[in-house]
Symmetry: D2
Subunit: 401 residues, 4 copies
Amino acid sequence: MDYVYGPGRNHLFVPGPVNIPEQVLRAMNRNNEDYRSPAIPAMTKVLLEDVKKIFKSTTGTPFLIPTTGTGAWESALTNTLSPGDRIVSFLIGQFSLLWIDQQQRLNFNVDVVESEWGRGADLDILESKLASDTAHTIKAICIVHNETATGVTNNLATVRKILDAYQHPALLLVDGVSSICALDFRMDEWGVDVALTGSQKALSLPTGLGIVLASAKALEASKTAKSVRVFFDWNDYLKFYKLGTYWPYTPSIQLLYGLRAALDLIFEEGLDNVISRHNRLGTATRLAVEAWGLKNCTQKEEWYSDTVTAVVVPAYIDSSEIVKRAWKRYNLSLGLGLNKVAGKVFRIGHLGHLNELQLLGCLAGVEMILKDVGYPVKLGSGVAAASAYLQNNIPLIPSRI
Amino acid sequence: MDYVYGPGRNHLFVPGPVNIPEQVLRAMNRNNEDYRSPAIPAMTKVLLEDVKKIFKSTTGTPFLIPTTGTGAWESALTNTLSPGDRIVSFLIGQFSLLWIDQQQRLNFNVDVVESEWGRGADLDILESKLASDTAHTIKAICIVHNETATGVTNNLATVRKILDAYQHPALLLVDGVSSICALDFRMDEWGVDVALTGSQKALSLPTGLGIVLASAKALEASKTAKSVRVFFDWNDYLKFYKLGTYWPYTPSIQLLYGLRAALDLIFEEGLDNVISRHNRLGTATRLAVEAWGLKNCTQKEEWYSDTVTAVVVPAYIDSSEIVKRAWKRYNLSLGLGLNKVAGKVFRIGHLGHLNELQLLGCLAGVEMILKDVGYPVKLGSGVAAASAYLQNNIPLIPSRI
Amino acid sequence: MDYVYGPGRNHLFVPGPVNIPEQVLRAMNRNNEDYRSPAIPAMTKVLLEDVKKIFKSTTGTPFLIPTTGTGAWESALTNTLSPGDRIVSFLIGQFSLLWIDQQQRLNFNVDVVESEWGRGADLDILESKLASDTAHTIKAICIVHNETATGVTNNLATVRKILDAYQHPALLLVDGVSSICALDFRMDEWGVDVALTGSQKALSLPTGLGIVLASAKALEASKTAKSVRVFFDWNDYLKFYKLGTYWPYTPSIQLLYGLRAALDLIFEEGLDNVISRHNRLGTATRLAVEAWGLKNCTQKEEWYSDTVTAVVVPAYIDSSEIVKRAWKRYNLSLGLGLNKVAGKVFRIGHLGHLNELQLLGCLAGVEMILKDVGYPVKLGSGVAAASAYLQNNIPLIPSRI
Amino acid sequence: MDYVYGPGRNHLFVPGPVNIPEQVLRAMNRNNEDYRSPAIPAMTKVLLEDVKKIFKSTTGTPFLIPTTGTGAWESALTNTLSPGDRIVSFLIGQFSLLWIDQQQRLNFNVDVVESEWGRGADLDILESKLASDTAHTIKAICIVHNETATGVTNNLATVRKILDAYQHPALLLVDGVSSICALDFRMDEWGVDVALTGSQKALSLPTGLGIVLASAKALEASKTAKSVRVFFDWNDYLKFYKLGTYWPYTPSIQLLYGLRAALDLIFEEGLDNVISRHNRLGTATRLAVEAWGLKNCTQKEEWYSDTVTAVVVPAYIDSSEIVKRAWKRYNLSLGLGLNKVAGKVFRIGHLGHLNELQLLGCLAGVEMILKDVGYPVKLGSGVAAASAYLQNNIPLIPSRI
């Protein structure tokens, strides 16, 4: 099973799944339990309340669905929309592309707003579409908060402003898979109607939970939405919430305890400190990329992502060779370039349970790999640039002062 | 988190989720990994081949879906059928009821064949329906192999015989959730078109994998099936199988390694030995029930289940009190009676990673509880009856001879 | 590594090492740490205070030594005595024998008081020896609280009474390996000078910690004791206690966290409830032995042990066959008869993290094995006798009421 | 328990205890077992054979003692020597000092050969002592292979050459605590009589096993050695080796399985590859220290240690501030300066389960800390120097080619 063993610890810098804290591994190291005993509902009740905090929401209704991000997307769409409904959806990279593919296969009428990969959602087009949609044919806006393939963060506050400016009733459905619990996400303030993430991203758990938060407006929409759904149907959950047993089908006992531990760690660090830490990690990575003389795939600073950086390599280098070499020689896992940017970018995921020295080890590794593949990097240059920033900005660990 | 701590080990005798072997817990006690590295596809390739063995199939195509049994049901249905398709479906207990509910909500035309709870599927009615369906309007037969709510095992060999007798082309879709890997299940021999189970049942893993096996005929049907599906779409899997990367979305690394360990244990014991062990556990349980003077909810021996026994209590006892008391006093988890048999039966799950002395501990516990709630049981009687049988039938442990 | 795999859970009923609670396994599932960081001393400080509670002592000085019970014995002796010192030591079974062997090899002048195996320490002889020792040549009394080989518990309160009656200053050194944390042990009240146990016994941890508690008088004795010692020298510990760093050499990080979790569980259950539970387990076992028509190796009720029962088999049966068969056929681990009682007794350990249904599973197993080896036991008889008692005496689990 | 939680992974760079591989944590994550069942002796037999390989010995007799390095020292001394025996012992740092303290307290006649801390053992003095010892009053030479406090590796081949040159029969007792399994250690070739290590060092296990290997000559010496010993007595082990039960007292089941896993990893990587990896890590560290303009505590290249580097800080800096800051701000654990070099050096442990990118993360951290405490380091300089070397020397991971 471990035939690909390499000495020392694997350096996991794909933008998900990410490193799991020992505390979470411990919490999950347990036998199954009867989920109908009093213990699991009591635990679930508190978990549902607590999970809302990472969305900065007090009003949303959460669903912990035994599925992946793809399933969470489907849950968001099928519970709020009916076949044929018009959606405005932004295509800015591989994951927004896959979501749009799902939207189309679920028979929605998808109005795709495409940007060059490396750029954010074109909100001017959103504005013009809303402006002209006085009949309110647009039922939902679908947008990824952070496009994992290109390292682009969209500005959701602006999206909300535009919707408000036109007093447009469209639902705002947000993929927060690689943002929630790492980037500042404000469900209530931004009037997001459905937000979702997956357990294996910034929450630093194994894959297996699609976490969906629905606004009151989204719940209302679910009452009339005609999309066929059973496994993903929110009503089945709501029925069991009322009964106080919470689960329409068997949950993963281990993931529930894992989520409890993960939330405890986040609350202990403080969500805003978690977000600041991700900003430090993102900034440090970008400074290294700059020092190496390479380009960030993200074209403008306003879209820089604090959870993943896609690095553009010179045309004479195949970025997938970098990823292969990282794994084969340095026990380092980097993200591939996907689809349009395949071979052109490699990605450094810097989200979840991660600190600055771990990142610096990764950056030092990337430098050696760049040299391996013939790029004339000055070894140490990226680490120096990142360190100069970090040494000024890392706070003391509160529990150790 | 452990505020419901009780001394000693929890005795887990619900019919799922079941006890996880230490070997599997160990295998799952690991950090995340990049699922796009060469390691995970190589592992997946072998897993897909090996998982077929527990279905006794060499020809099926397996899907390891990050979902529950409910999701596996949906996968089976939506990939093979189109809205409006006529299905014959057997209602014999709570889980077949829930599946039928799903079938109806997915807009199939469900021809429900109901039996009294405690009886198996009425195959005479199946025969008459097939006999009269010369136009082949029936597209699928949906049947649970083992109804977990009543402890009833249906005879799938007979179902196949009837289908063959009428040369009826209907697909045979089987819920094997509480049977596969515990009862004798013969996918190929019985011509099952889709069979499915969940990881938390006889495989003795945590919840999180819906395991679906499709026959060639089912795969063929999936090409024209018009049910809307994305997350559950087999085609997305097949596309990645061809690419050799295997996963359309992020799998649980931990469950893959857990499945590997679970299969290794099953193959080491020998699948047919696993099945024999379950027969011993089931027989011993039934002998105890008889010795207590109580009735098995299953009305005929031909339907007796070797994975779960639903025990009927006298009318003056509320069976849910038995389940509560088991948990509150004896750290024993028993299964509730559900829906029509709520309050009337309690269930002893005896499947998965379990041996005879564990079961005898449970039976001794049940005897004390029966006395607690006022049933005049002779303490030791059930254990004596079960032991008399077991002492003659337990084989030596092969690795220890 | 698992070539001796048997289906289901191993039933571990040797009198140590015993079953580890999942909570403890979780706590120990962790990477190493720098034991010189502020975290480990802070944790150790509290542990040292808390560990005294399981000895019912407020005045003792504890030592957590990375060793086994044998090492803890050596620590007790070499820190308090000088070569040539006269000791009165009771030989009542294999473990007191081994301790006496150690005492002799450490060059003490051992005055052995032997009893027939199955009987407790002969306290009349102690009395006569003390009576005649007006010159106080006896420097220490060495006694096992519970002889693990025969299941005999000595009466320490009486030992203290006799010492007091003669106002004899001899140190009282007690092996509490298979008693402390399971039997009522009163360090301060009984004036015990050194008491010791091992982590793998009633504390339900892995082997690796010898836990020694020294009275003020014992500490005083250590200042003049001339036995050569370095690894086991209390002074090295005391020096580091004063410094606040606590460890003269590297401790096992994992065992410290494990001990923390083990104590938490014991305090949550309540030490006196733990002791009561062991009394229930012991009583139930003895009732079963009686029902089988077999003899307890322990000759009088006053010496009955609540942590281990040695069962005498008829002369025509070799008790080691019972132990072999238990392991080979039932995945049950029983204790062998040792030395003088080899082949004559087998032992049921019933200590540590264990509840009543686990024990009943074991007893049911023993019945089948007895039949296997030709003893005419009535199957179910022992379980019935034990259950009749337990059903009247098991309390509700407090956290679940 | 986790009140000193810091985000991300702790960077553990003390020279022991070191990082435990996930494979080892998994292997140890298990319940206790009966160590008298056939499984544990069978496992032990193979372990004893395999553990000799890390000493490069085919002729030694191994002892796996439930103790620490301090206990292993005591085992080596008391089994081979008698009180009053003359020992030549080299004092070159804190750990050789502690061993000498033990030797003196065990009543040997210790002939201490002291070197300035930072220098190796003075072998010229050894030569002159042996030359003049025609009466062979010297019974043993005690030497640490690698002094953990100063990062000094002694040349054991030369020690053997000198002993041979004078045909001196003194036993050669070697502390290999921070060398074996990381540095090239040749028990048989160098004629070492007793070599020892601890599980928490290069073997990358938790603390708890003192691993001692004795030559035939040492075993012979143990027959007449008069030092008092019981817990550490080799004869008790040898008696049980003959019986095939192997254990004179209860071993830690978990550490045995952990050792199995640890050896498997080492053999998979290849012991000589493990040694090369440590050479790379040591070289890289020294290059970084040089780049920072700091001095290695080790005064000559011939004594450079590949497992730990003690870095001398300028007089105006207190090295313990560096260690504190590392922990408080960077979640990095460095080694303190001990005794004579307290405040003057800090130590980077680079042994055990560790790879190059982990080290580079540590080095990047040290750079920032140096700046924090006022040393004018050029950020990135050490990483650059180390990387330049590593990028030329890291091999591909064999299992991934």
